[in-house]
């Protein structure tokens, strides 16, 4: 196997060193220095990264060629050709802590596609050639084997932030168990009792929607949790509750939550199995059906919790036309203007997630809110620092990417 590799290397070097007859007179460029080829770190495999040093006289006229030797045919093939003053380490979008070489070094990544098929576990001979006019000088070929990685170090800052935030939340929960936490008023949630009371007085039902999402979306989970709190109060007042669904799994979960709430309110006999019902998964068919329910049954209170799309205004405007008190809560930022316009109260973004804690007033839940607030304060500080550093780097022509990378790409 080693002798085969040696033969391949010699063949590759001889082939690359063969000058064309027209270029005999020109002086050949210097070969690329310090060529390193290695498995691309932090990826799912099938990729190699090449680095080589910057040399004097690099310009648009001079070029580099990346050559890959086919392990079966054994013939080197030009994979890429580019100007010698391009493809530097700093051009690749990776944070500073995972850069394979210092800034100013050339970097090229061989990825599958466009005639390249790198197999994990197979060794490949790769080299870089400097090209000037018709002259080409290759560096010594380097063997490397692509392999998948078990951890993406590019996202270590993200993991650190999540862990710190998790610890802050858990710490805040512990604090909340020991002492009372102040919670600002959220008018939309204060109005829940008013809405239920009004429906009871009028003898009309309450309509509760959990949005367009499935149970994998946090907003749907939040909507289902709030339904539990609302259902408990509805049960106490013995008011009718209607919960039409777009997702059968959400329906099954909400059925259980509603049943439990009636049980906890001491009114299991008032619970109706069909208070949660499925309509359809189709967006506008669902909207038409719910609009029909609003117009026929004229519920006194409408709750719109969860995530919504184009149907939001169709639902809330119909609800407004029936004179119902309407409370919305969504994390769909693009639908917020419609809700704010047509509903009496709107829980904006994070207030939807805070609703469960606000309605239950359980210390454990309130602690989470405090944790969120501390997290927001940290982000505010990071935003301020990031803005200052970015501005300073432009004003004073400083390279402060090491600081900016830390607060970039938290996702």
């Amino acid at each position: 196997m080693n002798s085969e590799r040696r033969t391949m290397k010699v063949l590759l070097t001889v082939l690359l060193l063969m000058p064309s007859s027209a270029a005999q007179a020109e002086s050949p460029p210097l070969p690329p220095q310090h060529v390193q080829v290695f498995d691309t770190p932090n990826d799912s495999g099938g990729s190699l990264t090449i680095t080589w040093a910057k040399t004097d006289g690099e310009s648009k006229d001079r070029r580099y060629q990346v050559l890959l030797q086919d392990p079966i045919a054994g013939v080197p093939k030009v994979i890429a050709e580019f100007a010698s003053d391009s493809h530097y380490v700093q051009d690749v979008k990776t944070p500073w802590w995972t850069r394979p070489a210092s800034q100013g070094t050339h970097q090229f990544t061989l990825k599958p596609g466009k005639g390249i098929d790198l197999k994990d576990g197979t060794s490949y001979a790769v080299t870089v050639a400097a090209v000037a006019g018709e002259q080409r000088t290759p560096a010594e070929p380097v063997q490397a084997t692509p392999a998948p990685n078990w951890f993406n170090w590019n996202q270590i800052n993200n993991l650190a932030i999540v862990m710190i935030f998790g610890l802050i939340v858990l710490g805040s929960i512990q604090t909340a168990k020991r002492r009372e936490i102040f919670l600002r008023r959220i008018p939309g949630l204060d109005a829940v009792d008013e809405a239920i009371g009004r429906a009871t007085e009028l003898g009309k039902p309450i309509l509760y929607l959990t949005g367009a999402g499935d149970m994998s979306e946090p907003s749907t989970v939040a909507a289902a949790v709030i339904l539990g709190r609302v259902a408990k109060r509805v049960a106490a007042y013995e008011t009718d509750l209607m919960v039409p669904h777009r997702d059968p799994i959400v329906m099954a979960v909400c059925q259980e939550i509603t049943k439990q709430s009636y049980l906890e309110a001491g009114k299991p006999d008032v619970f109706k199995e069909d208070s949660n019902f499925f309509i359809t998964t189709d967006q506008f068919s669902y909207t038409a059906a719910v609009d029909g329910i609003m117009l026929r049954k004229k519920p006194a209170a409408n709750f719109f919790m969860g995530s919504y799309f184009a149907e939001s205004l169709l639902l809330t405007e119909t609800g407004a036309s029936t004179g119902a008190i309407q409370i919305a809560g969504t994390d769909s930022d693009h639908q917020l203007p419609f809700f704010v316009t047509t509903c009496d109260y709107t829980l904006i973004g994070e207030e939807l997630y805070a609703a469960s804690a606000y309605l239950s007033r359980e210390p454990v839940q309130l602690g989470t809110l405090r944790g969120q607030d501390i997290g927001k304060a940290c982000i505010l500080v990071a935003l301020g620092l990031g803005t200052a550093v970015a501005t300073a780097s432009i004003l004073f022509h400083l390279d402060l990417s090491f600081a900016l990378d830390l607060v970039k790409d938290w996702k």
Binding site: D247, L314, G349, T368
Partner: protein, 216 residues
Amino acid sequence: MTFLRRQLPVLVTFVTGILFAAQYYVPHPLSEQMLTSVSKWLQIIGGFALVLGVTSLFHIHAVKIRRKEPGWGYSFVLYAGMVGTIVIGLWHGGKETTDGVTTAFGWIYSFMMVPLQGTMFAILAFFIASAAYRSFRARSREAAVLLIAAVIVMLGRVPLGEHLIPVSGDITQWILNVLNASVRRAILIGISLGAVALSLKIIFGVERAYLGGGKE
């Protein structure tokens, strides 16, 4: 029984929650494969759950028809539409076209479903107009600001507006790129933190209401 209803779901949530949170940081193909497999499981579970949903739909409307509740005629139309579509769909093997010719099943989709969906979507234009009319009545200082901003943005987004007031385009871009984008991002940061906090609460069993009820 308590273990099956309470502890086991919390345990499963904890293990899968940690596993799939970690999956985000693992680029290995095995990790991707695991995610793909679980996505397929979700689709299969969703398929079975649909049976549950359709059963619920049939049951509710059957009761309405049997009791002749107000509006039972709509339930009858729903039954006719659903059963009719299922029968025709099965008859044509679920195909919308056969040898380039539209089947009855395809006809139902193209000439009934699509126009009906289009109609519902089209209503949105009128609803936006009526909602905007209500909001833009300058009853308060906030509503007045909203009205002015809306008029500028509307002018800046149409060629005639920009022709009449050339600066409206630039002001519109500034409103959208600076005022709108910054507030939107602030809301998104809050949403993201809220979602992470809720996920942590669920993973660590602090929030159990989704299992049915809040307390043990």
